[in-house]
């Protein structure tokens, strides 16, 4: 590959010129096809790609890029890794970087752009891209100087509340108060209101950070949410404290008590919901959890369904939280450009959507191609969100987000320590945001 670098340079110029021409004469809709159709004569060799997708996800990703490979004759060399931060930090040191990579979050993304490692994605038609993605997604991929450096293809809807269809037969609750009443009525004897499992290896606690984010967004509103995520609002502020307290009451009414909650893998957290008698009525989790219901609890798709997280304070109605996987470019080659353009097209994303386990960030992917009811409705929620907010902890500096995860484990174990936990988070906040 090294030997062919020289040839690439020539092509880069050609490719850039071509992109200019396309941008000048092409409309927004054709943009996606531009990389595919326009450049295929010059493209050759390989594109290396490091991502966090592995197992079935890796297979689906490779299926998604297969048509592009066939069209262009370029091979995608994909490497999956557990730890993107480690892989890319060392890659920057060695100069041995993939052409394209998944990025662990906006914080490192900006650092790496500042170091000159991450390349601008100025060839992407920003208006088309941002128009097709949920509110806030496109901005998250912008550097501090306003250049697009990261894009989303895969998204996740958070804050969905799952239930066992045999237990919860009522209509979705309109408000949090309704939900508490209804769940309280169903929780009797051996059945608790909630199932919560927080264990997740190096990121234990994250399911509870999603809880806090969902509560803050609906209880204190998007402005408070934004300030808090940006580090402008202390953790000990009344709004955040109140969110922890609301979550504290959820924990109180959860299956198994604190030992169960902190020791149970999140993927198995909802297993008691499908036992007989059910251990709990409800489970709060992101859209991908249905795979775990089937594989780990042995549930059939008819056995579960979900409703969106209800409003808490009616003045902040319609809030939705979600996440997604950022992609950035480290080597500016025409092949890499072409692949990114291809990956952003609804046609490409539809391939993975049809294989399952993928909520598209692109609203151009028609809802009816989703293979099952739950993923289709998740995508619908994402597309129709009035107030969309990106996963707050993913958007905080890494040290803050790590402390947040740990704090949730500590809080679930000892809810009485709330004040000292929040004080610790305040301390980390001062340190982490200053350093960033």
């Amino acid at each position: 590959m090294r030997a062919t670098r020289g040839q690439f340079r020539v092509v880069v110029v050609g490719g850039a010129a071509l992109a200019l021409v396309l941008a000048a004469c092409g409309g927004g809709e054709e943009d996606g096809d531009g990389g595919e159709g326009g450049g295929d004569e010059e493209l050759s060799g390989t594109v290396s790609f490091i991502g966090s997708w592995s197992g079935d996800e890796q297979d689906s990703f490779l299926a998604m890029v297969a048509p592009w490979e066939e069209e262009t004759g370029v091979t995608v060399e994909y490497t999956g890794t557990r730890d993107l931060s480690q892989q890319l930090t060392t890659g920057i040191a060695s100069g041995n970087l993939p052409d394209i990579a998944g990025l662990p979050g906006p914080g490192p993304m900006n650092d790496w752009y500042g170091q000159g490692a991450l390349q601008p994605l100025d060839f992407v038609d920003f208006d088309t891209y941002s128009g097709a993605t949920p509110e806030g997604f496109a901005d998250l991929g912008m550097s501090e100087d306003g250049t697009l450096i990261g894009v989303f293809t895969k998204a996740a809807v958070k804050g969905l509340i799952y239930y066992n269809t045999a237990v919860w037969t009522a209509e979705p609750p309109a408000t949090w108060a309704d939900l508490e009443t209804a769940a309280g009525g169903l929780a009797t004897g051996e059945t608790a209101q909630w199932c919560v499992g927080l264990e997740s290896g190096a990121t234990s606690g994250w399911p509870a950070t999603d809880w806090i984010e969902d509560i803050v967004l609906r209880q204190a509103g998007p402005d408070v949410y934004d300030q808090w995520v940006a580090g402008e609002l202390a953790w000990s502020a009344p709004e955040i404290t109140a969110a922890f307290e609301t979550f504290g009451s959820v924990l109180e009414n959860s299956y198994g008590g604190s030992d169960y909650i902190v020791n149970t893998a999140f993927g198995r957290g909802a297993n008691p919901m499908f036992e007989d008698p059910p251990g709990c009525v409800l489970h709060h989790q992101a859209s991908f959890i249905t795979d775990f219901f089937v594989n780990e609890a042995g549930a059939t798709p008819e056995q579960f369904d979900f409703f969106p997280f209800p409003d808490i304070d009616p003045q902040y109605t319609g809030g939705v939280t979600g996440g997604g996987d950022l992609i950035g470019m480290f080597n500016d080659t025409p092949e890499a450009r072409s692949l990114i353009e291809y990956l952003l097209t609804p046609e490409a994303q539809q391939i993975w959507v049809e294989r399952g386990g993928f909520i598209s960030a692109n609203s151009g992917v028609p809802l009816d191609v989703y293979p099952d009811e739950t993923s289709m409705r998740s995508a619908e929620i994402l597309q129709n969100a009035q107030t969309f907010r990106f996963d707050g902890s993913d958007n905080m500096p890494a040290a803050m987000s790590d402390a947040f995860n740990r704090a949730m484990v500590a809080f679930a174990q000892n809810p009485g320590d709330l004040d000292s936990i929040l004080a610790g988070l305040d301390e980390t906040q001062t340190d982490a945001y200053a350093a960033d």
Binding site: W53, G55, T79, G80, N96, G267, E296
Partner: protein, 304 residues
């Protein structure tokens, strides 16, 4: 190599086989103690082994010990998935290509150094040796960024080391040396002085002493070193990923197997099968080298 032409005055020892008959009649307490120890060590491994033949759902629902009792509901699904993973065999071969030279390099290079440390005199000998052993504590993770940067800046004559299999061998050799030198120096240093004096009187040079005397006499300790170095390199994930970077064609088995689970930790049941699949080769090495852990082999080798 066993037919050493050097006459060494060693106490004659019986061949290994002859000793067996002399083993003391062990008491029944000993058997009980050893059985308990075996059980303590085997239970977790056995649990993992049983889990590797079950579905995730079954493992979540009931303990592995219940699965041993019929009716058996074992499945080869996990193994099937692991063995048919794309790139499995390529990465298996890559693992051998990385592990074998990294092991040979560590053993030879550390044996040279151990011999020098133990039987040659030079200024600063102990100080240098302590530094070498002290390097054991250097966390591998902090070395990565400086070394990678060094390789990048010093790419020799346009040949890029980063991303090649050779970089991985070299790195593993560097990281394995402190332990290897320490272990071998201790053993080689413990060999009787009379042996070396006799050889020198016979006019043997250092190369002869080293290859005909030191190496054969150190076979048991070298066997244990080979076992560990092989195992560590074989199971290593971090060094391989970082030094190879985005070149999947060069990835060893450990990297391929680490990618069995999904982003959110789903499909963990494949990890159980993968653990046993990747264990096969190191265990074969362990068994193959078992025969060097027999009393009398060192004496026998020198006696010729």
């Amino acid at each position: 190599m066993t037919q050493a032409p050097i006459a060494v005055d060693l106490p004659t020892q019986e061949p290994a086989g002859g000793r067996r008959g002399k083993k003391r009649r062990p008491g029944s307490v000993l058997h009980v103690v050893l059985t308990i120890i075996m059980l303590m060590w085997a239970v977790p491994t056995l649990g993992l082994f049983v889990a590797s033949f079950r579905t995730a759902e079954a493992t979540n629902a009931s303990g592995w010990w219940t699965a041993i009792i019929p009716p058996w509901e074992f499945t080869f699904g996990n193994y099937d998935y692991v063995l048919n993973r794309a790139g499995f065999w390529d990465s298996f071969v890559n693992s051998l290509f990385i592990t074998i030279p990294a092991t040979v390099l560590v053993v030879m290079v550390s044996a040279f150094a151990a011999y020098a440390f133990a039987w040659m005199h030079f200024p600063g000998r102990n100080a240098i040796f302590v530094v070498v052993v002290g390097l054991l504590v250097v966390p591998l993770q902090v070395t990565l960024i400086p070394v990678l940067a060094l390789f990048r800046d010093a790419s020799l004559g346009g040949y890029e080391l980063n991303g090649t299999i050779m970089a991985v061998w070299l790195a593993h050799t560097g990281y394995g040396l402190p332990f290897a030198v320490y272990l071998l120096r201790n053993y080689v240093g413990g060999l009787p002085r009379s042996l070396f004096e006799a050889a020198e009187i016979d006019g043997a040079g250092h190369a002869t002493i080293f290859f005909r005397l030191v190496l054969p006499m150190s076979v048991p300790v070298i066997a244990s070193l080979v076992i560990f170095q092989f195992l560590w390199v074989w199971n290593d994930l971090l060094v391989a990923l970082v030094y190879l970077g985005p070149v999947p064609a060069n990835h060893p088995l450990s990297v391929t197997l680490a990618n069995l689970t999904t982003n959110f930790g789903g499909n963990w049941q494949f990890v159980t099968a993968a653990a046993f699949v990747s264990m096969v080769v190191p265990i074969l090495v362990f068994f193959a080298l078992q025969r060097y852990f027999v009393r009398g082999i060192t004496g026998g080798a020198v006696k010729g």
